[in-house]
C-alpha cells in the first residue's frame, strides 16, 4: 500500500495540543469530577499483614450524621479474580480474613471525605492476627505456612535450559556467582488513583470515571466481576496524572465505588490519599536472582544460570501479575544485547502477606538490565579488563539480525554497537579514566556505568494483560475535519499530538484538523489501552492503517469528482489534485461535503460518509528498541551519599514520530531510574507493616537529584507500520543498571560491587568499611 506522499508531520518536533488546557487549569482530573449530590468514600483498611476477622461492628459509624452507608463484603460480594488462570481471587472488601496491611475491609460512604474519615475511625473490627508470610525464600518452601490454604505459595513455576547448557557451563574456564535483588518500589503517580460512578440520568446506564490506563479493560472487568452487561457501563477516563503501569490494573476500590453508586443511587467518588496509594497501589519489582555465569579468558560470556524469584504479594492483580511479568519476561531478555549462547533458568513466584505486585514502568526490564550489566562488569573486573571492551566483545553484531537469543526471543534489527560506541564518545569515556584517577588522589570517588539495553515493546501477544492489537476509528466530518478515536489510555504521553501527526500525514489535512479522542468506551473502539510501550507502535500502527483507508476513500471520491483514476490522486495540504495537473483540484472539505450532504455526487455503489475503523497487530510478537545509557556518579565515601553527575543516552526506537516527546519520555525514565537506583524503597518490617507510607519515607527524585541528560537518536526502522518501535520504558530499563554500575566503578578501590537496588548510603558505607577492616 501507498504511504503518504511526503510525510510532513511524522518526525517533526510538534508542540503538544494537550498543553493548553493543562497549563491553564482547564483540564479535569479525577478529583475535579464533581456532580451534585456526590458522596465520597473512605476505606477502613487492614492494620494487619495477616489476621482472621472475628467481627465487624459498623453501628457507631453508621450513626455519624452525614454517613449514608457503611459497606462490608456482604454489601459488595464480588471478587477480582482471573478464574481459570489462578486459584485465588481478591474480594472487593475483605471476606473473613485480611492478607496485607492496607487491604480494604470496610467502605464508609458519606457527604464528604472529612465525615467519611470521622466515621471510618468508629468502625470496630476485631482481628485475630496470624503469623505473616514475608520472606520470599521461606515462602517458596511453604514456611511458615501457606498464605492461602487453597493454593501453594508458589503460584508460578517454570524451568528452561538451552540444549547443551550443562556441558558448556561446566567446560568454561571461569565461573562467578552472585545474588542480585531489587527492592519493592512503586509508581507513585503524582495524581493518586480514583474512581467515581453514577447512574446516567439520560439512559440509566452506569457512567464510571476511572483514573486508568485501560478504559476498556476496566469496563470488561467490572462487567465480569459484577455481572453487569458490558453495554450498561460507560467508562470515561478524565485527565490522568501519570500511570506508569500502576494504573493499568482494575482495583477492589473500583468495584466498591460502582456498587455504592448502584445501591445508593447517588454519584459516589473515591480519591486515594497518599498513604492509601503507598499501601494499596500495586507495588513493583521485589525480585531476587541467584545467578551463575561462565566465561572464557577473553571475556566472552558463554552461559548464564539464574533462579528468578519474585514476591507477588497477597493477591494477583487483574489483569497482570507483576511477579510473573518480572520473572518470566525478564528471563526472556536476560542476555540483553549480548550474544550469549547458553541460558538456564528456574522461576518461582510466590504469595506473601504484602501488597499485590503489579506493573511499574519497565516491569521485567530494569531487573534484567541490572543483572546482565552486573554480570558484564563482574567479568571485566575479574579478568581486569576494561568493562567497555568486554561489552564490545559480547555485543550482538549487525550481521546477526534478526537475532534469536538464548531464550528464543527474536530481536529486530537495531544499532547495538553503534549506540554503544556513540554513547562512549558522548561521555568522553577515553578521558574519563584519567580524570577518575586524578580525583581519587584527592579523595573523590567518581565512577562510570554503562548500560546497553534492549527494550521489548509493543507486545502483540496478550501476556502483558492487554489485547495485542489496537483500534482506531476515523470519521471525517462534513467540514473536512477528522475525529479519531482510539482505545488508548494516555497518561501524559501526548497521544493527542502524535496520533494526529500520523493521521494528518496520511490524509493530507492540517494537524489541528485531526482531533484525537481516547478514554471513553462509548466513543472508542475496543482497544488495549496504554502500557507496555505499545501505544506508538500498535496504536500508531492502527492510526496509520485507518488513515490510509480513509485516504483511499477520499481518493475514490476525488477521482470520481475530478474524473481521474484513484491512483492518480494526490492528497496534501487540505487538497486533492490529479498528479501532475495541480489545477485539477478540490478542497478536501468539498469532498467531505459531497460524501455527506450532496451524496448523489458520490461514485455509484460507494457507501455514504467517510468513516473507517482499523485494527492493527504488529508483524512481530515483540518489537525491540535498543540503546545505551552511560552514567557518571560521585560517591562521598564519608557519608555514603551518591550523586549522579553526568548522563548520556543514545536511543534507537525506530522511526521517531515526535523527537521532543521521545526525549521527554527518556528524561522522565532516567529520573525514575535515579530513584530506583539510589532512593526508592518500600520497606516492610518484621510484622509485615509497611514503614514507608509517606513521601518523606518513600523518596522520589527531586529536581536537584537528577542530572542534565545529553541525548542522541539513531533510527533503525522496525517492520511495523511506519517503522515505529516502542520506547516508553527503555529509559527506566537502562538507567538503574547504569547508575548501579557507576557506583560500583567509583567504589572499585574498595572492591565495591552493587548487588541490590536501591543503593543506600548505609550500603556504601558498609562496602567502604569492609574494605578498611
Amino acid at each position: 500500500m501507498q504511504q503518504a506522499m511526503r510525510p510532513q508531520m511524522m518526525g517533526a518536533r510538534v508542540s503538544r495540543v494537550e498543553d493548553q488546557r493543562l497549563l491553564t487549569a482547564q483540564a479535569r482530573f479525577m478529583d475535579d469530577i464533581q456532580v451534585p449530590g456526590m458522596l465520597e468514600i473512605a476505606f477502613v483498611r487492614s492494620p494487619h499483614a495477616a489476621a482472621e476477622i472475628v467481627s465487624i461492628d459498623t453501628s457507631r459509624a453508621a450513626q455519624v450524621p452525614g454517613v449514608h452507608k457503611v459497606m462490608t463484603f456482604d454489601d459488595c460480594p464480588y471478587w477480582l479474580w482471573m478464574r481459570g488462570v489462578f486459584k485465588v481471587g481478591q474480594p472487593a472488601l475483605a471476606h473473613g480474613e485480611v492478607y496485607y496491611v492496607g487491604q480494604p475491609v470496610v467502605a464508609v460512604v458519606a457527604e464528604n471525605r472529612y465525615i467519611a474519615e470521622d466515621a471510618a475511625e468508629l468502625v470496630e473490627v476485631v482481628y485475630r492476627p496470624k503469623e505473616p508470610v514475608l520472606d520470599m525464600r521461606e515462602a517458596i518452601a511453604e514456611r511458615p505456612r501457606r498464605v492461602h490454604p487453597e493454593a501453594e505459595n508458589v503460584f508460578f513455576h517454570r524451568e528452561y535450559q538451552t540444549p547443551g547448557f550443562e556441558e558448556a557451563f561446566a567446560q568454561a574456564p571461569h565461573h562467578l556467582s552472585e545474588t542480585f535483588s531489587l527492592s519493592r518500589q512503586t509508581a507513585v503517580t503524582l495524581e493518586p488513583r480514583g474512581t467515581a460512578a453514577m447512574v446516567d440520568p439520560a439512559t440509566g446506564r452506569l457512567t464510571v470515571y476511572a483514573s486508568t490506563q485501560a478504559p476498556h479493560r476496566v469496563r470488561l472487568d467490572l462487567a465480569t466481576f459484577m455481572d453487569i452487561p458490558e453495554t450498561q457501563i460507560r467508562v470515561i477516563t478524565p485527565e490522568v496524572g501519570g500511570g506508569f503501569g500502576m494504573k493499568a490494573a482494575t482495583y477492589p476500590e473500583d468495584v466498591v465505588v460502582v456498587q455504592a453508586a448502584r445501591t445508593l443511587r447517588r454519584p459516589v467518588k473515591w480519591i486515594s490519599d497518599r498513604m492509601e496509594s503507598l499501601l494499596s497501589d500495586v507495588h513493583g519489582r521485589d525480585d531476587i536472582h541467584d545467578v551463575e555465569v561462565a566465561f572464557d579468558d577473553t571475556g566472552k560470556i558463554i552461559a548464564i544460570r539464574d533462579h528468578l524469584m519474585a514476591d507477588g504479594g497477597a493477591f494477583i492483580p487483574v489483569p497482570f501479575s507483576g511477579a510473573v511479568g518480572e520473572t518470566s519476561l525478564a528471563a526472556m531478555v536476560l542476555t540483553g544485547p549480548y550474544d550469549i549462547p547458553h541460558l538456564a533458568y528456574t522461576i518461582d513466584c510466590t504469595f506473601s502477606n504484602k501488597t499485590p505486585l503489579g506493573a511499574y514502568r519497565g516491569v521485567w526490564g530494569p531487573v534484567a538490565s541490572f543483572i546482565q550489566e552486573g554480570i558484564v562488569d563482574r567479568v571485566a573486573r575479574y579478568l581486569k579488563m576494561d568493562p567497555a571492551e568486554v561489552r564490545r566483545r559480547n555485543m550482538i553484531r549487525d550481521e546477526q539480525f534478526p537475532y534469536k537469543n538464548a531464550a528464543g526471543m527474536v530481536y529486530d534489527r537495531g544499532s547495538y554497537l553503534e549506540s554503544f560506541e556513540r554513547a562512549l564518545d558522548m561521555i568522553g569515556y577515553a578521558d574519563f579514566r584519567a580524570r577518575q584517577k586524578a580525583l581519587r588522589q584527592q579523595g573523590r570517588y567518581l565512577g562510570i556505568g554503562i548500560s546497553c539495553f534492549v527494550e521489548p515493546s509493543a507486545m502483540a501477544s496478550s501476556e502483558a494483560g492487554s489485547v495485542g492489537y489496537e483500534s482506531c476509528s476515523l470519521r471525517m466530518e462534513p467540514s473536512g475535519r477528522v475525529i479519531a478515536a482510539l482505545g488508548l489510555g494516555p497518561t501524559g504521553q501526548g497521544h493527542e499530538t502524535t496520533m494526529a501527526q500520523l493521521i494528518a500525514d496520511q490524509i493530507g489535512v492540517k494537524l489541528e484538523d485531526v482531533i484525537v479522542l481516547h478514554g471513553d468506551t462509548d466513543s472508542a473502539p475496543m482497544g488495549g489501552g496504554t502500557g507496555g510501550s505499545r501505544s506508538a507502535t500498535i496504536g500508531g500502527g492502527a492510526a496509520l492503517v485507518a488513515g490510509r483507508q480513509l485516504r483511499e476513500k477520499l481518493a475514490q471520491v476525488a477521482a470520481h469528482l475530478l474524473e481521474a483514476a484513484p491512483e492518480d490522486i494526490v492528497l496534501e495540504d487540505g487538497k486533492a489534485w490529479v498528479s501532475g495537473v495541480p489545477e485539477r483540484s478540490l478542497a478536501i472539505r468539498d469532498i467531505a461535503r459531497a460524501a455527506y450532504l450532496d451524496v448523489k455526487r458520490m461514485p455509484g455503489g460507494m457507501p455514504v460518509g467517510l468513516e473507517v475503523t482499523a485494527r492493527y497487530l504488529p508483524p512481530r510478537p515483540i518489537t525491540f528498541s535498543n540503546g545505551c545509557h552511560i552514567a557518571e556518579v560521585e560517591v562521598d565515601i564519608r557519608t555514603g551519599v551518591a550523586r549522579v553527575t553526568r548522563y548520556v543516552v543514545v536511543n534507537d526506537c525506530g522511526r521517531l514520530i515526535n523527537p521532543t516527546i521521545v526525549e521527554g519520555q527518556i528524561l522522565g525514565g532516567v529520573a525514575q531510574g535515579v530513584g530506583s537506583a539510589i532512593l526508592e524503597r518500600l520497606h516492610y518490617d518484621e510484622n509485615g507493616q509497611l514503614t514507608t507510607t509517606t513521601l518523606l519515607d518513600y523518596l522520589l527524585p527531586e529536581a536537584t537529584d537528577v542530572p542534565r541528560v545529553q541525548m542522541a537518536h539513531i533510527e533503525t526502522p522496525s517492520e511495523s507500520e511506519g517503522g515505529i518501535k516502542g520506547m516508553g520504558e527503555g529509559s527506566l530499563i537502562a538507567s538503574p543498571a547504569a547508575i548501579a554500575g557507576a557506583i560500583a566503578d567509583a567504589l572499585e578501590p574498595f572492591g565495591g560491587l552493587v548487588d541490590r537496588l536501591p543503593v543506600q548510603p548505609s550500603d556504601v558505607l558498609a562496602m567502604v568499611g569492609r574494605a578498611a577492616s
Partner: protein, 266 residues
C-alpha cells in the same frame, strides 16, 4: 487524610494565647504548621483546639541585635532567618542552617518557635539553639520564664515547655570564635541523616543533630591538627555522648559532618 475536628481560637495577644492554652489542656499552638498539619492530616495529633498565633506576627517576629545578643521572635519564619541581614552579620551560621530547612515553600511558612517547640531530633534549629547557647523565653498565664537551650530539649519531640506555655522568643548571645555548619541528607530539604555545628574559639564544641533524640553538644579540650586523628576525636566525642550502639553508617556520617563543619569554620 483529613484532620479530625478541632476548634479554632485566634489569639490577638500573647495573653490571649496563653489563657486559651490554660483553659484547653488539649489545645495546641499553630504557627507555621509545617510540622503540625501533616500530623493533623494523619490524625496522629488530635488537639481539641488550635490556638492560632499568626495574628501576633507583628509582635513576635522581631530580629534585634542588642550589642551583645540577638533576640528573635518565635514567629520569625525560616526564610527570613536565612535572609535577614542582621542575622547574616551577627550569627551567620544560623542563617546558613536556616537555609537548609526543607524547601522554599516550607521555609516561607515555618517558624523558629514552631521548629524549636516541635523538637524534631533531626531538625537544624533546635541544634542551633543548643550550639549557640541560646536562652528560650516561654510565657504562660503565670508569667515568663527563661530556659537555657541545654535544658530545653529532652528527647524525641519532647521539650521542657509545659502544655500551657508558649515559646515567644529566643536570645542568642554573641557567638564567640569561628563557626561551621554541615549536614548530610538523602535529598535536598530532607531531614538530616546527621548534621553538626562546630565552634572553634577559645574552646571547641560540636553540636550534632540527627544522631539522638535531642541535639548533642560536646566540648573538646583538644582537637588534633591531623585530619585522621581528628576523625578519631570526633568519633570518641560522639560515642562518649551518645553511647556506642549507634549504627555504623550514622557514626560515619556524624564524623563526616563534624569534620566538614570544622573545616568550614577556618
Amino acid at each position: 487524610m483529613k484532620p479530625a475536628p478541632f476548634g479554632w481560637i485566634r489569639a490577638h495577644s500573647v495573653a490571649e494565647a496563653v489563657a486559651a492554652l490554660r483553659e484547653h489542656p488539649e489545645a495546641k499552638v499553630i504557627a507555621g504548621g509545617q510540622s503540625l498539619v501533616p500530623l493533623l492530616n494523619f490524625r496522629l495529633s488530635r488537639p481539641s483546639h488550635l490556638v492560632d498565633i499568626n495574628p501576633l506576627e507583628t509582635s513576635l517576629n522581631q530580629v534585634e541585635w542588642s550589642g551583645s545578643a540577638l533576640t528573635l521572635g518565635a514567629l520569625v519564619r525560616h526564610q527570613r532567618l536565612a535572609e535577614h541581614p542582621v542575622v547574616r552579620e551577627r550569627v551567620p551560621v544560623l542563617s546558613r542552617a536556616a537555609s537548609h530547612i526543607g524547601h522554599w515553600a516550607i521555609r516561607v511558612r515555618g517558624t523558629l518557635g514552631g521548629s524549636i517547640s516541635h523538637a524534631d531530633p533531626a531538625a537544624e534549629l533546635p541544634a542551633a539553639m543548643v550550639a549557640l547557647n541560646a536562652v528560650l523565653v516561654a510565657q504562660s498565664a503565670d508569667g515568663t520564664r527563661e530556659i537555657p537551650a541545654s535544658e530545653f530539649f529532652q528527647g524525641y519531640y519532647t521539650t521542657a515547655l509545659q502544655a500551657d506555655e508558649l515559646l515567644t522568643a529566643v536570645r542568642i548571645p554573641a557567638p564567640e570564635g569561628r563557626w561551621g555548619f554541615a549536614e548530610v541528607a538523602r535529598r535536598l530539604g530532607d531531614f538530616a541523616l546527621a548534621g553538626a555545628f562546630v565552634q572553634r574559639g577559645s574552646r571547641v564544641a560540636v553540636t550534632w543533630f540527627g544522631v539522638a533524640g535531642a541535639p548533642v553538644r560536646v566540648e573538646l579540650t583538644e582537637v588534633p591538627a591531623d585530619a585522621r586523628e581528628r576523625e578519631v576525636a570526633w568519633r570518641q566525642a560522639l560515642t562518649t555522648a551518645v553511647g556506642s550502639d549507634l549504627e555504623v553508617a550514622k557514626v560515619a556520617q556524624a564524623v563526616a559532618v563534624a569534620e566538614k563543619a570544622w573545616s568550614e569554620a577556618q
